[in-house]
């Protein structure tokens, strides 16, 4: 059966979506991912969608679901590598993926997760100034 591979990188899990998503694949991914988060005690989940040229409401909802599930399991979800055209389409559709964090590429996503692991003291100061 078709599966989306989940790679472990340090304390994070990396999922690269490169094929068209459909219901069963999304369900399998959610099953696998939640299982792996628990098994590997992952702190972060990176979802790379740089290969996707079309992101519709279905994938948008799936991303939001995965983020919510990971949060329950105390792992941060970062969606990385969204293409400009995809971002514009999502905004025009009114899907701004609230509650999902985003980063430009995998590297920045890793940094983001690493930074969250450290005790936060200066980031809150930034917002206030």
């Amino acid at each position: 059966m078709e599966r989306i591979p989940i790679l472990k990188m340090g304390g994070s899990l990396l999922v690269s979506i490169q094929v068209d998503m459909h219901d069963r694949l999304a369900m399998t991914l959610q099953d696998d991912l939640t299982a792996r988060i628990v098994k590997d005690r992952a702190r972060g989940v990176l979802i790379d969608i740089s290969a996707l040229e079309v992101v519709d409401s279905f994938i948008g909802r799936m991303l939001a679901n995965i983020a919510a599930m990971s949060r329950v399991l105390d792992a941060q979800t970062v969606v990385v590598g969204m293409r400009p055209a995809v971002a514009i389409t999502l905004v025009e559709l009114g899907l701004s993926l609230q509650g999902v964090r985003t980063a430009l590429n995998v590297e920045k996503g890793m940094q983001m997760i690493a930074a969250d692991g450290e005790p936060e003291d200066d980031s809150s100061a930034d917002r206030e100034s």
Partner: protein
Amino acid sequence: MARTEQNDIAAVLARHEDEILPEWVRVQKAAGRSHLISEEDLRSQTRDFLSLFRTAAQTGRIDDITGREWDDTRRMLEDLSRARARQGFTPSQTAMFVFSLKEPLFARVRAEFGSDAERLAGITAGVNSVLDKLGLFTTEVYQKGREELIARQQQEMMELSTPVVELWDGVLALPLIGTLDSARTQVVMESLLQRIVDTGAGIAIIDITGVPTVDTLVAQHLLKTVAAARLMGADCIISGIRPQIAQTIVHLGVELQDVLTKATLADAFAIALKRLGLSVQKAHAAKSSTATEKA
């Protein structure tokens, strides 16, 4: 129209082409604006048109200039009309190129058929109608050329007015100038997102100092741009909010809660540097501190 009249017109054109030509050139020169075009060009255009017109009148139907026989004539007029629009002729001056043929042509027709009033009237009506149509055709093409020019300039203006500049490694600025409508928002968004991908910038500052008014629609467009940048993984700061605009935004009830806003671009840049963990200090202060370290 009767076939005989058409034959008559074609015959007159063929017989007197050499006489009509210089006379027509003279009439056109008398109409003014002759400095915009050289005499050789005018002469060759006149000659070309006359010969094409004669051929078309011989073969095609004179009361229908959309026919295949008129293709060459129409093409020639299209080129001429476009060229004249570029050279600075007005639409009426461009149309006069065709209309001014009437005077010399009628003179010939009158000389030849002056005795036969009925025939003369028929030919005159025929010539009038075909030349009017061709004249209007040049105006139409002229107008179309102008419209294309305006559309192209609009497009260029849109691209020119949305530059994305790199202020620092990882900090982009988008100084917006002019009114934001849907079409411009689209261009702004596309160029900003593309630059974010190209440079890998994590922070984008949208400066709206040059935006004259901010209404709910403009605010919505700004929020869309911010949301799209966020999806790409870049934070946006909106700067350059003038006091009146701040008041308008509040009066309109626009929610800018999720977006960081700053009064000036300088403030926004300071925040951006701080986020990157950079700081700016005076050069001599830095020098004295290194000097004390050495000592």
